[in-house]
């Protein structure tokens, strides 16, 4: 599939999406929006924004974890209600969400076993996914015996094994050190190429967004809106070496110039 055909089709659409917390007009908080955004099928889209701008609220709405107050969200043409996570969407959180009472293999098998796949199919898919994520040697280990990076891999594997067409990641490497983040980022790019899934990545790290994404949405301070969309020039075969490309500095510089005032505004209102 060539690049042009791959990105032509809309996969996720948000029109006029807002989110307001609280019902009392005196005390309610406008957390988000209105947001207009379209994710193309197969693209890697990153969202950056100042802290408290509603990134995670946006994430929950697209994941189908919570409803939008107004506006419309569609996934593959069907509307999302915010009451259930639809088939075909996979989610990875910042926090370690592995189940500590299950082995790595049982963690990865959890979702497809629930879906009622035959045990033979479950074990075939789990083996393949563990191999893909470099976890093959740890199938029988418990999460507590692994490092933070490896545990996050378990969570990613648990998501991938269900073959999602849209993968949502909320600061998935936020708790990891910088070197591990770069390596995990490279692996994520590899997975993206191999699965062909659409990826929406929420992050506060500008360099991470600049290295990983095809397009980067810059959000404003609360209530978060999309201020700008920055495209990156890297080809589909990119990896962490793009950080030494001179254009990399241009992109992070452009992101920061859009974000600087918003971050200062966010800091000033954070105390309220």
């Amino acid at each position: 599939m060539n690049m042009a055909a791959r990105i032509a089709e809309a996969h996720v659409g948000l029109t006029g999406v807002t989110r307001v917390f609280g019902s009392d007009p005196q005390t309610q908080v406008k957390a988000l929006g209105p947001i207009e955004l379209e994710l193309r099928k197969g693209e890697f889209f990153a969202v950056v924004g100042p802290s408290g701008c509603g990134k995670s609220t946006l994430f929950d709405i697209v994941a189908g974890l919570s409803p939008a107050t107004s506006g419309k969200v569609t996934f593959e043409g069907r509307p999302l209600t915010g009451s259930a996570v639809p088939d075909g969407i996979g989610v990875v959180f910042q926090e370690d969400a592995s189940f500590p009472w299950l082995t790595v293999a049982d963690n990865v098998a959890f979702g497809i076993r629930r879906a009622g796949l035959s045990e033979a199919e479950v074990s075939r898919r789990v083996t393949a996914t563990l191999a893909l994520m470099g976890l093959a040697d740890f199938a029988k280990a418990y999460p507590a015996q692994l490092s933070g990076g490896m545990r996050q891999r378990v969570c990613i594997a648990r998501t991938l094994v269900q073959r999602p067409r849209l993968i949502l990641l909320d600061e998935p490497f936020g708790a990891l050190d910088q070197q591990t983040r770069l390596i995990m980022g490279e692996e994520l790019l590899k997975l993206w190429r191999e699965t062909g899934a659409t990826i929406l990545l929420i992050t506060h790290a500008l360099d991470e967004a600049a290295m990983l994404a095809d397009r980067i949405g810059v959000m404003s301070a609360r209530p978060g809106r999309i201020l700008d969309i920055v495209e990156t020039p890297w080809g589909i075969e990119r990896d962490s070496r793009v950080v030494s490309d001179p254009r990399f500095g241009d992109i992070t510089g452009r992101l920061w110039s859009r974000l600087r005032e918003e971050s200062m505004a966010a800091l000033a209102t954070a105390g309220q």
């Binding site: 974890l65 959180f93 926090e95 500590p100 009472w101 979702g111 629930r114 507590a144």
Partner: protein
């Protein structure tokens, strides 16, 4: 770890040896307590005779029923109460005060409801044990991180499935504390009820022996209860440790 276990055994051995010495030398009078070695010998003799076997069987089966029921019902109630934050918070001081209530005062009421026989003693053991299980289940469920609740939503689980497949397994090692307390409290409830008004059971035998200054029966029976309760407690602790061991990096 090993070092600590050895030291612990040494301390227990030292205390027993000291008691033996004090008793043999007459500092503790024989009327108050016989030496530990004699208690142990008496216990073996008592267990091999058929003097108290019926009582022991009676008491242990009552405790088993009371404790088992308390664990099952208490865990279910704990899960239910935990679903409402306001309910759990409102009930908290009542649970705290519960153990100050002399449950035995309701013994006549139990007899009126459940008749004379073994049922009232079982109910008292159950009533003492269940609140420990409820409180502990709520505490254990409080430890569940938010990300796990989100994960449950991702998989689209219903609340029963989520409790059974995610929340209870996560809370498993912390539930062991409640189970241990349930064992202890069902012992206390059943034996205490037997103390007051029963014609059969270990508690009755202990009181009977106390009233007749029969130290050769009283002390071995007390030792027996402590050994049984201690062993069960130890088994659950080992299980708890194994579950927790999987969770922590060591």
């Amino acid at each position: 770890m090993r070092h600590a276990a050895i030291l612990r055994l040494a301390i227990i051995a030292a205390i027993v040896a000291l008691l033996e010495l004090l008793s043999r030398s007459g500092v503790i009078s024989r009327f108050v307590a016989p030496p530990p070695s004699e208690i142990a010998v008496d216990l073996v003799r008592l267990l091999t005779s058929d003097r108290v076997q019926a009582a022991i069987a009676q008491t242990l089966s009552k405790i088993t029923i009371a404790c088992g029921a308390a664990i099952v019902v208490g865990t279910a109630l704990g899960v239910l109460i935990h679903r409402s934050r306001a309910l759990a918070q409102t009930l908290s001081p009542y649970f705290g005060a519960y153990y100050a209530v002399p449950i035995y005062a309701f013994y006549p009421l139990m007899i009126a409801i459940f008749g004379i026989g073994e049922a009232p003693q079982i109910v008292i053991g159950f009533m003492l044990a269940i609140v420990a299980v409820i409180v502990n289940t709520i505490n254990a469920l409080d430890r569940i991180p938010r990300v796990l609740r989100k994960t449950v939503a991702i998989y689209g689980m219903g609340s029963i499935e989520a409790s059974w497949n995610v929340y209870l397994p996560y809370a498993g090692p912390y539930l062991a504390t409640g189970i241990k307390l349930a064992v202890a409290y069902s012992f206390i409830g059943v034996i205490g009820a037997e103390f007051i008004m029963s014609r059969i059971g270990i508690g009755h035998e202990i009181v009977f022996a106390y009233n007749n200054f029969d130290n050769e029966v009283m002390y071995p029976l007390i030792l027996f209860v402590l050994l049984v309760a201690g062993t069960i407690n130890g088994l659950f602790s080992a299980w708890e440790k194994r579950l927790l061991g999987r969770r922590s990096r060591s």
